[in-house]
């Protein structure tokens, strides 16, 4: 069948943002990324977007598809059977570098501000650190994060408060806060109690709705809020 794509175009060196429409033949089981590739390879080589693994593992092709943040390689044409036209736009909130490519440096810097690495209290044992399967389970959901930034692009709070660290950074904070091998629980918790850390989240649940890896993002943020209230004398700086 023929499918129409309306694609956001912007080259900062060449003028104002606009939309360009392309028509491509597409089978229902094809990925949106497959369609985008056909358009680029056969019709217009100037379209800019990122991609690599094409099956939802590398996290390159996060974008807004018909208004909802998603990975172009995880959505199929049949998912949009009711749409006459499929609109592709860059992730909201992010600075656009070209067409569907956004600047991710600040996003990564926010994650790095959470010290996303293990800081054990003691030197490592000769073999592995012991960790029960139950303790491992605490981080089982959040280790699915692929840093695609769909959650952060979808979060309404990000647009009201650009200094909010954002859901992805909080997922990474959670991943180390609840890793029983880590020795920095209280320091990490204090970091999370800063004004632009967990507290700006007001449960829109947009991050959870769009996460391509089905991570319970909002629930994880709420758990950390409860943890702060339980352990720190001044939750939310009160």
């Amino acid at each position: 069948m023929e499918k129409q794509f309306r694609i956001f175009r912007f080259d900062p060196a060449a003028g104002e943002p606009h939309y360009q429409t392309y028509t491509v033949s597409a089978r229902p089981e094809e990925r949106i990324l497959d369609c985008l590739n056909k358009i680029k390879w056969e019709q217009d080589g100037s379209i800019g977007y990122r991609m690599s693994c094409a099956h939802g593992v590398c996290g390159s092709d996060g974008m807004r598809i018909n208004g909802v943040c998603a990975l172009a390689c995880q959505k199929l044409v049949r998912d949009y059977a009711d749409s006459i036209e499929i609109t592709l736009e860059p992730l909201p909130f992010f600075k656009v570098l070209k067409d569907l490519i956004v600047d991710m440096d600040d996003f990564l810097a926010r994650i790095e501000s959470m010290r996303p690495y293990l800081i054990p209290a003691d030197p490592p044992p000769e073999k592995e650190y012991l960790q029960s399967p139950e303790d491992h389970k605490k981080v089982e959901d959040v280790i699915r994060c692929i840093l695609c930034a769909c959650c952060t692009g979808a979060c309404p709070v990000m647009r009201e408060n650009p200094d909010y660290v954002g859901p992805a950074a909080l997922v990474w904070a959670y991943r180390f806060l609840y890793d029983t091998r880590d020795g920095e629980f209280m320091t990490r918790l204090e970091k999370l109690n800063e004004p632009n850390s967990v507290w700006p989240c007001v449960n829109y649940f947009e991050c959870t709705r769009v996460c391509p890896k089905v991570i319970p993002v909002t629930k994880s943020i709420n758990m950390m809020k409860r943890e702060i209230k339980k352990n720190l004398p001044n939750p939310g700086g009160e």
Partner: protein, 573 residues
């Protein structure tokens, strides 16, 4: 502007990251990635990393070494396999200490599961040797090492395509990179360069590999006259999602899944009576194609079923959740209740840039090129021989990535700064200029898709002199067409139209090398199966292939295999 670092590492997957973290405290090191950080293809590894920890049942590094050599159909260099098997235990504990979230046994140790070709007691029965984090083992390892690199303050150049390697008087002087965001071409001056650019599965039409897997690093060295080793050995993973090629991890069979033909028969019992569905990948892929050829493909088509329905919802959710989601998203099926249509998909390249056990790149006379290193899938140490075992690849990356990094640190004192030639980036400017200035010509996609079709139909699991010869002729014709390649977009910002065209030159040359080596090897060994020569012939062919690029085509020579411990025997499972 002149960029200068002691050590440049090309590729930020696991091998590059592990090497970089080894060098970081001792020298000025920079990492290049053609994709944005954390997008490298190591992240797509699902099943796990092999190490004889013995956490679930008795195991030993000698069994692991034996399995590696036998899995490689005796083409693995045994000194290399020994280093790997012995060092695996330290390497896995190191990853665990760094924070990799491995699944756990009830005692709190790293959990282990079965994997293809890994056995106890020299082939008696399957052994649980694969350490894993659900079915996203590569991704969590890469993220762990990436943030370790960030923590160490390693300089990273993201979305920089390395397009040329500069060697002066036989020693590395640096490299030339194309900056994707701006279109600028830069020379980077260095004393040592490590190539860690991964595989080149994009030579084939159906592959589990990423779009970025175009073999750039191999081409950089090949172009300089350095040979490529064992290029005919291409691994087809038995269980790609039919048509798409998306990987369904061998862990699915490690956890108890089985393959079935159109009659519902568990056909691997006939091909590998001892370890059945856990036979090495080359054997399982051949078995699948044999079933299909003999009319036992499902619904008369070119696929078989992977049956996970007896594993239960809990096990699928806890240990195989990513692949369950792939099956749901791309096929609309539920692995708890539905059979999964699968067929072999190009997955891994055993061949690559020849190196010694320190990662030093070897020239055609087997001498190290001062300052030049390679590690990971782009290299050929040769560890995996004619067929790699599952879970040995992540291990290869961290063991030999670290060794290369350590050796670079030791060698730096012997590596002076070599004066680069004047305007070292001029050849790249010309190459890019030639493509950009063509007003019309062949689009890269047309040539690329034709190459991928030829490779898939003529040089995949089953091969024959006639079809290989035809393929070689056609690839040469495509190379001729490539001289007329043109692009739509002449701009400078994120011009992937241009980088696609540059990468096509790499794919064509590597495709040609694969076919030429496959044509020359008139025996069947591991992943290289010649229908016209279906026997393994140790007397004549127990040797590594070296392919060198010359003006008149691919020149082929050979070098011996290191056999220190296990004499070749017939390979049955």
């Amino acid at each position: 502007m002149v960029f200068k670092h002691d050590v440049l590492i090309v590729g930020a997957g696991l091998a590059g990251l592990r090497a970089a973290t080894e060098v970081a405290d001792k020298a000025d090191v920079a990492l290049f990635s053609k994709v944005y950080p954390t997008r490298s293809h190591s992240g797509a590894a699902q099943g796990g990393i092999a190490a004889a920890l013995g956490n679930e049942e008795p195991d030993s590094w000698e069994w692991h070494m034996y399995d590696t050599v036998k899995g490689g159909d005796y083409l693995s260099d045994q000194d290399v396999a020994e280093i790997l098997a012995k060092d695996s235990i330290r390497a896995v504990y190191e990853l665990e200490h760094m924070g990799v979230p491995f699944n756990r046994t009830s005692e709190g140790k790293i959990a282990q599961r079965n994997f293809g070709g890994h056995t106890r007691d020299f082939g008696k029965a399957p052994v649980k040797r694969a350490c894993y984090a659900a079915d996203r083992s590569g991704r969590v390892m890469m993220d762990t090492l990436y943030f370790e690199a960030v923590r160490k303050g390693i300089k990273i150049y993201p979305e920089f395509n390395v397009v040329d390697l500069i060697v002066q008087g036989g020693q590395v002087a640096g490299l030339v990179a194309y900056e994707l965001a701006t279109g600028e071409i830069h020379f980077f001056h260095a004393r040592s360069v490590l190539i860690a650019t991964g595989g080149y599965g994009k030579v084939y039409k159906v592959t589990s590999n990423a779009f970025a897997s175009t073999g750039d690093g191999l081409y950089l060295t090949y172009k300089l006259g350095i040979p490529l080793e064992d290029m005919e050995f291409v691994q087809f993973h038995p269980t790609g999602i039919n048509g798409l090629g998306v990987l369904i991890s061998e862990a699915a069979r490690g956890e108890g899944g089985v393959l079935r033909n159109n009659a519902g028969e568990r056909f691997m019992e006939r091909y590998a009576p001892t370890i059945k569905d856990l036979a090495p990948r080359d054997m399982v892929s051949r078995a699948i194609f044999t079933e299909i050829r003999e009319g036992r493909g499902v619904k008369g088509e070119d696929y078989v079923y992977l049956d996970l329905t007896h594993l239960g919802e809990k096990k699928l959710a806890e240990k195989l959740s990513d692949i369950s989601s792939f099956v749901k998203i791309y096929l609309g099926l539920n692995p708890v209740t539905d059979l999964i249509p699968v067929s072999p998909t190009c997955h891994y390249m055993m061949g690559g840039i020849p190196t010694n056990t320190h990662g030093q790149v070897l020239d055609v006379h087997h001498n190290p090129v001062p300052g030049l290193y390679a590690a990971g899938e782009c290299s050929c140490i040769s560890l995996h021989g004619a067929n790699r075992l599952g879970c040995n690849s992540l291990l290869d990356l961290v063991v030999f990535g670290r060794r290369a990094g350590a050796h670079i640190c030791d060698e730096l004192k012997n590596l002076p700064w070599v004066e680069p030639p004047p305007a070292p980036e001029s050849a790249t400017r010309e190459r890019i200029g030639r493509i950009k200035e063509k007003a019309s010509g062949d689009k890269a996609v047309v040539i690329r898709q034709r190459l991928q079709e030829i490779m898939t139909t003529e040089c995949s699991v089953f091969r024959h002199e006639e079809t290989l010869g035809k393929a070689l002729d056609e690839i040469r014709a495509l190379e001729e067409r490539y001289s007329r390649v043109s692009i739509d977009y002449k701009g400078d910002r994120f011009n992937t139209d241009l980088t696609d065209a540059l990468e096509l030159e790499h794919l064509l040359a590597l495709g040609e090398a694969i076919v030429a080596c496959a044509l020359a090897r008139t025996e069947s060994r591991g992943a290289h199966w010649r229908e016209d020569f279906p026997e393994r012939v140790d007397g004549e062919w127990l040797k590594h292939t070296l392919a060198q690029k010359t003006d008149s085509g691919v020149s082929i020579t050979y070098k011996p295999v290191n056999i220190s411990r296990f004499e070749p025997k017939p390979r049955a499972y």
